[in-house]
């Protein structure tokens, strides 16, 4: 996926631009984190990648085609999981929605749903409704639903931002395990610098007013990562130091 000189201005030409001249590539199989202060257009950028918004200048090219609308090959994990789940469907039903959209026959759906629920640790919640689950569990359901559509790329908008620290850490590790197992391409938006470094192969730092790329860094920390040793790694700390300065500077 390639993001070419993308800009976005809401409203008339007099309006302030939200994003200006954003240029980067997403490499096949990489875990790319985008971090930035609030209001810098992170979510807007993700919506552009998803095709939910169209840029006013530049283009986004995915697998040789210009992105002009949403596609099942690009799964979106929304930040506000309670709104993104169908409250009248059970956990299993929510995951099945993706399979239905993909045109998978009813007979094969059951087993596929069971496998995904087991993968996300939801096997005991299959018949429960989203409102009966904790936030962490609800986000697991949304991730399972996105995995079900077998996307080429996962676009995640601050998926763990609203979760408590313990839940967040375990979901981070599960996500890393799934991503490496499936060699998934992930674009992960976060406002948490440490999360970005911990998860990412590369990290993009966005600046605000208008949103633009400040820096794109290779993380270069060994995988598999570990909540304790990785976060204590000298490289981790120095990267955190450097990027922290950038976030402050803008």
């Amino acid at each position: 996926m390639s993001v070419q000189k993308v800009g976005l201005t809401f409203g008339t030409s007099r309006g302030r631009p939200i994003l200006n001249d954003v240029n980067f590539d997403v490499l096949e199989g990489e875990f790319l984190c985008i971090v930035g202060p609030s209001g810098c257009g992170k979510t807007t950028l993700l919506r552009l990648l998803a095709g939910l918004l169209q840029p006013t200048s530049g283009a986004i090219v995915f697998q040789g085609h210009r992105v002009s609308g949403p596609s099942r090959s690009r799964a979106i994990v929304f930040q506000d999981y309670p709104n993104a789940l169908l409250p009248w469907r059970t956990v299993a039903g929510n995951v099945a929605l993706s399979l239905e959209a993909c045109g998978i026959a009813r007979a094969q759906r059951g087993a596929a749903v069971d496998a995904l629920l087991a993968k996300m640790g939801l096997q005991n919640a299959a018949d429960q409704f989203p409102s009966q689950l904790s936030g962490g569990m609800q986000q697991r359901v949304q991730i399972a639903r996105c995995l079900a559509q077998q996307p080429k790329i996962m676009l995640m908008d601050e998926p763990f931002g609203a979760l408590d620290a313990i839940t967040r850490q375990s979901l981070q590790d599960e996500l890393l395990a799934i991503a490496s197992e499936r060699r998934m391409t992930v674009v992960f938006i976060t406002h948490d610098l440490e999360e970005a470094i911990y998860l990412g192969d590369r990290v993009i730092v966005l600046g605000a007013n208008p949103g633009h790329i400040v820096e794109l860094v290779d993380v270069g920390l060994p995988r598999p990562r570990n909540q304790l040793t990785t976060r204590e790694d000298f490289k981790f700390l120095s990267l955190r130091h450097r990027l922290f300065g950038m976030l402050q500077g803008h």
Binding site: P70, R72, R74, P87, T90, A101
Partner: protein, 252 residues
């Protein structure tokens, strides 16, 4: 429950007792006030020979027909208007102009179009019932969580799938509110049309009883209508209490 029932029955029981006593002792000599015992007898006769039940079936038939048309038309049109602001802005003023016309004002027109019978009555009922359903549906569709529509987009659901899997289930709870209001209208309008022109159903039986001076039968039918209305309302209340889980799985 039983205690509440007994409490609720005190007033009508007392009124009937006084009424009966007054008419028997001759204190009450109004020509158009029959005795409760005669009314009861007339009602039982009417139920036994099937005339009241037939009339009830005819009234319900028209109410149900009109309601069915109103649900289909109201939900369909309401969904389109709820999804599209431009269409809503174009059609909205026309709707606002049509809506205040009392449904019964269409009796002369529908009579010309359909003649006496079920179709004209059903049409008038449908006209009365479509508005609460339409308005509730527009609000319901407009109130759908935008994130759910984006999920539908992201999964590239077709329009039909989007309707069936996202929009209608998400809007169902609020549409139900409109339908419940419409059910109340349906019975009232059907009986009104029958009283005014249409020679069928309970409204017409009422008029016939009145004109043939069967005052006891007229009262019996009024009583029967009250029982029917009460029953329909009670049924609607049970739908209301079971709605939250139906609407969103938000039970528990």
């Amino acid at each position: 429950m039983v205690q509440r029932f007994i409490r609720g029955i005190i007033v009508p029981a007392l009124a009937i007792a006084v009424w009966e006593a007054a008419s028997r002792t001759g204190i009450l000599k109004l020509e158009f006030l029959s005795r409760p015992s005669d009314i009861l007898a007339a009602g039982i006769d009417g139920l036994r020979d099937g005339s009241i039940l037939l009339a009830t079936a005819q009234t319900f038939e028209a109410a149900a027909l009109g309601l069915a048309i109103a649900v289909v038309a109201g939900v369909l049109a309401g969904t389109i208007l709820g999804l599209s602001r431009p269409i809503e802005r174009t059609v909205g003023p026309t709707i606002e102009a049509l809506r205040p016309i009392p449904a019964v004002a269409f009796i002369p027109l529908t009579l010309l179009l359909f003649g006496f019978g079920l179709p004209m009555e059903g049409t008038v009922v449908a006209y009365a019932c479509v508005w609460p359903i339409l308005i509730a549906t527009v609000a319901a569709v407009r109130g759908i969580e935008p994130r759910l529509l984006e999920v539908a987009q992201a999964l590239e659901l077709s329009f039909a799938e989007r309707m069936r899997k996202i929009i209608l289930p998400a809007a169902l709870g609020r549409i139900n509110v409109g339908v419940r209001v419409a059910v109340g209208f349906a019975l009232v309008v059907a009986v009104t049309v029958e009283i005014v022109v249409n020679p069928r159903g309970l409204g017409y039986s009422l008029i016939v009883a009145q004109q043939s001076l069967r005052i006891d039968l007229m009262y019996a039918q009024l009583l029967w209508l009250s029982i029917l209305g009460y029953t329909v309302n009670a049924l609607l209340r049970t739908v209301r209490t079971s709605e939250p889980d139906l609407q969103a799985g938000r039970a528990a």
